[in-house]
C-alpha cells in the first residue's frame, strides 16, 4: 500500500505558502479572457490610447543614445533623473517630495511587498479597508499579518470605525488605504475623513501607507490633498506610472522617511538587485516634456465616457434594489446586490452568457462580499460596456426569478 504523494514538496512549504491555492474563480477567468466575452473584470489600462509614434520615438532614442546604460544593471534606488520625474508626477497632485526619499520599484505592487517585508512580523495587526485592493491583501498575506478590516462608505474609510477598533485594543503596525477612486469600491476619501485619519494616526503613532495609483485619473470634482501632503513624516506614499503611462514598463515607487526608505531600498536590492534600466529610461523619457499630458488628458476623457456608459447601462439594466458607487475617477464601479445573490457562484453563469466581473469575495480576507461585484470600465469600448452590463442585468433578473421561486 502506497500513500501517493502528488507533490513531493507538500510537507516542506513555508506557512506563508500553505494558504496559496487554486480556485474555481481563477479557472473561470481562463474562459473569461476569450474575445467574445465582455470582460468587466480586469483593471487593464487602455494602452491602445497611447500614441504609438511617441512611444516608438522614446524607445528608439533610449536605445540609440544610452544602450550601455539601458542594457546594464543599475542602482537599487533607481536613477536620479527618473526619481525627479516621479516627484514631478506627485507635484501634479500638490504633493511635494524629495527625489532622495523615493525608491523606484517594479510597479507599486513591489512596493506593497517591500512594505510588508520591512514592517510586518507574523501575527502583526494591519488595518485594511473593507473591501481592500486584492493585490495588497495577497502581497501582505505572505508576511502573515492579522487583517483588521475597517468598513468604507461613499466618503472612503470610516475613520470612526478605526477609532473604535483602536479603543477595543487593536495595535496595528500600519493603516493601508487607497484614498482616491478606490479599488474596488470606486469611492474617494472626503477631506474631513482625510484630516481625521491623519490626525488619529499621528496621535496614535500608526504610520499610514497611502496607495495612489489612480489620483491623476479624475473626471469630475476637485482633487483632495494626498495624505502624504498632510503629514509627510507619518505617511509612506506609493505611486505608479501604470495608469498614466503603461503597466508594461512596471515602474512604480515609494516615498518614505529616510529610515524606512533605506530598508525599502535594501529589501528591493535583496529581491531583484535593481529595476529594469531599459524600462526606467523609457519611462523617464516618456515623462519628459509635455506630450504625456495631452495623452493623459485624452485617456482621462476616454475613461470618463466609459464610466458614463457604465452608469447609464446600470441604471437601465440592473435590478431596482441593486446599488452602486459613482466614481469621480479611476477604473471601477462597486455594485451591491440584494443579499440573496452570490456573485462568486454566479460567475460561471455570467461567463456562459459571455460577460465577466470580479466577485466581491476577492476583496475581503474573510470570505465576505458575496453580494457584491466589481465592474471595471477602463478597457472595453462604451458599446461593449453597455452590452456587458445588459447581459449581466438579464442574468441578475433571471436569478431573481429563481430566488423568488425558491423562497416561495
Amino acid at each position: 500500500m502506497a500513500e501517493f504523494t502528488v507533490d513531493p514538496y507538500a510537507e516542506r512549504y513555508a506557512r506563508r505558502a500553505a494558504g496559496m491555492s487554486v480556485s474555481e474563480v481563477r479557472a473561470l477567468f481562463a474562459v473569461a479572457s476569450r474575445p467574445d466575452v465582455v470582460s468587466l473584470a480586469g483593471g487593464m489600462p487602455y494602452v491602445q490610447g497611447l500614441p504609438a509614434e511617441h512611444v516608438l520615438e522614446v524607445v528608439e532614442s533610449v536605445l540609440l543614445e544610452h544602450p550601455d546604460v539601458a542594457l546594464q544593471y543599475g542602482g537599487g534606488q533607481g536613477s536620479a533623473l527618473l526619481r525627479e520625474r516621479l516627484t514631478m508626477l506627485m507635484a501634479e497632485e500638490g504633493t511635494a517630495a524629495d527625489p532622495e526619499d523615493l525608491v523606484v520599484t517594479t510597479g507599486a505592487q513591489q512596493a506593497l511587498d517591500l512594505v510588508g517585508k520591512v514592517l510586518i512580523d507574523p501575527g502583526d495587526e494591519i488595518v485594511v479597508e473593507a473591501p481592500a485592493y486584492v493585490g495588497a491583501l495577497s502581497a501582505f498575506s505572505a508576511y502573515e499579518p492579522r487583517f483588521v478590516q475597517v468598513e468604507l462608505d461613499d466618503e472612503g474609510m470610516i475613520v470612526e470605525r478605526l477609532e473604535e477598533a483602536l479603543v477595543r485594543g487593536a495595535r496595528p503596525k500600519f493603516v493601508y488605504t487607497v484614498p482616491n477612486f478606490h479599488n474596488p469600491a470606486g469611492v474617494t476619501m472626503s477631506r474631513e475623513r482625510r484630516e481625521r485619519l491623519v490626525a488619529l494616526c499621528r496621535e496614535a503613532h500608526i504610520p499610514i501607507v497611502e496607495d495612489n495609483p489612480y489620483g491623476l485619473l479624475r473626471f469630475d470634482g476637485d482633487p483632495e490633498p494626498t495624505l502624504h501632503s498632510m503629514d509627510p513624516k507619518n505617511v509612506i506614499y506609493l505611486g505608479t506610472v501604470s495608469k498614466v503611462f503603461s503597466p508594461g514598463v512596471r515602474v512604480g515607487w515609494a516615498v518614505a522617511e529616510p529610515g524606512v526608505l533605506q530598508r525599502l531600498v535594501l529589501a528591493k536590492e535583496a529581491a531583484d538587485l535593481c529595476g529594469s534600466n531599459l524600462n526606467m529610461l523609457i519611462t523617464e523619457r516618456y515623462l519628459a516634456g509635455d506630450r504625456w499630458r495631452t495623452t493623459l488628458a485624452g485617456l482621462v476623457s476616454t475613461y470618463h465616457a466609459r464610466r458614463d456608459a457604465m452608469l447609464q447601462a446600470l441604471d437601465e439594466h440592473f435590478p431596482a434594489d441593486a446599488t452602486w458607487t459613482i466614481p469621480s475617477g479611476g477604473f471601477y464601479v462597486w455594485v451591491t446586490l440584494p443579499d440573496y445573490f452570490d456573485s462568486a457562484n454566479l460567475l460561471a453563469a455570467a461567463v456562459e452568457r459571455k460577460v465577466a466581473y470580479v466577485p466581491g469575495t476577492a476583496f475581503y480576507p474573510d470570505g465576505r462580499g458575496r453580494e457584491r461585484m466589481r465592474l471595471a470600465f477602463c478597457y472595453p469600448s462604451e458599446e461593449r460596456i453597455g452590452e456587458g452590463v445588459r447581459r449581466l442585468g438579464e442574468l441578475l433578473s433571471d436569478e431573481e426569478d429563481l430566488y423568488r421561486s425558491l423562497s416561495g
Partner: protein, 311 residues
C-alpha cells in the same frame, strides 16, 4: 510517424484543467514517437484546422461541456476521424448526471438516491416549494451538484434544510438542472478503467480539508491519495465490480473513471462517471495507472492505440 491531434482547452469552466491535461498528454505521445499537435476547438475554425492538419486520430483531452457531452465527438464522427474514448451518444448520456443515474439505476448499479431540480420548473412553474419535499424524501445531509459540469464545480454539501435553496442556485449557475443527492458518508475512491488493461488499483481520496472540491483537486498537496485504497479485499472487489458494471451500463469505451463512496456497510455507491478523466499532475487516472505499474507515457500510448485500432 503518425500525426495525432490532442484536443484540449475548449470553453467550459474546466478549460484550464483541460489545457494542463492536453499538454501532458501531447508530451507523452511525442515521447512515444507520435507527431502530436495540440488543438483547441475553441480557437479558430475547428473543422478546417483538423482537416488541414491531416491527422490520423484525435486524443480527446477536453473536460466539461462540448468535450464530454458528445458535441465534439459527433463532429469527429462526421469527419471520419477515430478518437479516444466513448462514442458521442453514450457521452451525451454519461455527462448528464440525470440520464447517467437513470441508466445506472436501470442496471441495478447502486447510486445514491436523488432528485432533480430544473431551472424551468423553478422559473416557469414556481416549483420552489418542492425543495422541502426533496429534503424530506432524501434525508439530510445532501449533496447538490449541477447536472452537467465537472471538477466539482458548483457542488455543495447541505447539512441544514435552510441552506438548500442557496446550494441549488449555486449548482444552477453551472447547468440548467441541479441534482440533489443523499450524501454517503465514507471513504471516497476512484476507479480508473482502461480497456485491455487489468483492473487498476483503486485510488482513495482524503482531502485535508475534508471536502474534495476544486481547490482540493488541483492544488498539489491539498489532498492525500492512497493507491491501492485502504479497503478490505472484498470491499475493493465490490468497488471494481460496480465500476465495471457502470462502464457496461453506460456503454463507455476505451477509458473512464468511476467515482464511488463506500458506506458504513462496505457498499459502494457510484457518485460520478467521467468519460474524459483528468490527465493533469494531480489527476486520479494517471495515479491509478502508476500504482498498477503503468507509467503516464504508456497510459497515453495505450489509450491512443485503442482509437488507432478503429482507423
Amino acid at each position: 510517424m503518425t500525426r495525432v491531434a490532442v484536443l484540449a482547452g475548449g470553453r467550459s469552466p474546466e478549460r484550464e484543467v483541460s489545457l494542463r491535461s492536453g499538454h501532458r498528454v501531447s508530451s507523452a505521445l511525442r515521447a512515444r514517437g507520435h507527431d502530436a499537435i495540440l488543438v483547441d476547438p475553441s480557437e479558430g475554425p475547428f473543422v478546417e484546422t483538423l482537416s488541414a492538419a491531416t491527422v490520423s486520430a484525435c486524443y480527446v483531452a477536453l473536460h466539461g461541456k462540448e468535450g464530454e457531452d458528445g458535441t465534439v465527438q459527433r463532429l469527429l464522427e462526421l469527419l471520419d476521424l477515430p478518437y479516444t474514448g466513448t462514442r458521442a451518444g453514450a457521452c451525451q448520456r454519461a455527462f448528464d448526471k440525470v440520464l447517467a443515474k437513470e441508466a445506472l439505476d436501470d442496471a441495478d448499479v447502486p447510486t445514491p438516491p436523488w432528485a432533480v431540480v430544473e431551472v424551468a420548473a423553478l422559473r416557469d412553474l414556481a416549483a420552489g416549494p418542492i425543495l422541502h419535499r426533496i429534503a424530506q424524501r432524501l434525508g439530510l445531509p445532501l449533496v447538490v451538484k449541477p447536472s452537467r459540469a465537472g471538477s466539482a464545480m458548483g457542488l455543495s454539501f447541505v447539512e441544514r434544510e435552510p441552506d438548500l435553496p442557496h446550494a441549488v442556485m449555486n449548482a444552477l449557475s453551472f447547468s440548467d438542472a441541479a441534482i440533489v443527492e443523499r450524501r454517503i458518508d465514507g471513504p471516497e475512491v476512484a476507479a480508473g478503467v482502461v480497456a485491455g488493461l487489468d483492473a487498476l488499483p483503486l485510488v482513495e481520496i482524503v482531502p485535508k480539508d475534508g471536502v474534495f472540491d476544486y481547490a482540493a483537486r488541483y492544488t498539489p498537496g491539498a489532498t492525500e491519495y492512497f493507491a491501492p485504497a485502504r479497503l478490505s479485499p472484498e470491499v475493493a472487489e465490490a468497488c471494481r465490480r460496480s465500476a465495471a458494471r457502470a462502464v457496461e451500463a453506460l456503454d463507455l469505451r476505451d477509458v473512464a473513471r468511476i467515482d464511488l463512496m463506500v458506506d458504513g456497510d462496505g457498499l459502494p455507491w457510484v457518485i460520478d462517471v467521467n468519460v474524459s478523466p483528468g490527465m493533469t499532475d494531480t489527476s486520479l487516472l494517471p495515479m491509478a495507472a502508476l500504482a498498477g505499474g503503468v507509467g503516464f507515457e504508456d497510459l497515453c500510448d495505450r489509450i491512443l492505440e485503442l482509437a488507432m485500432a478503429r482507423a
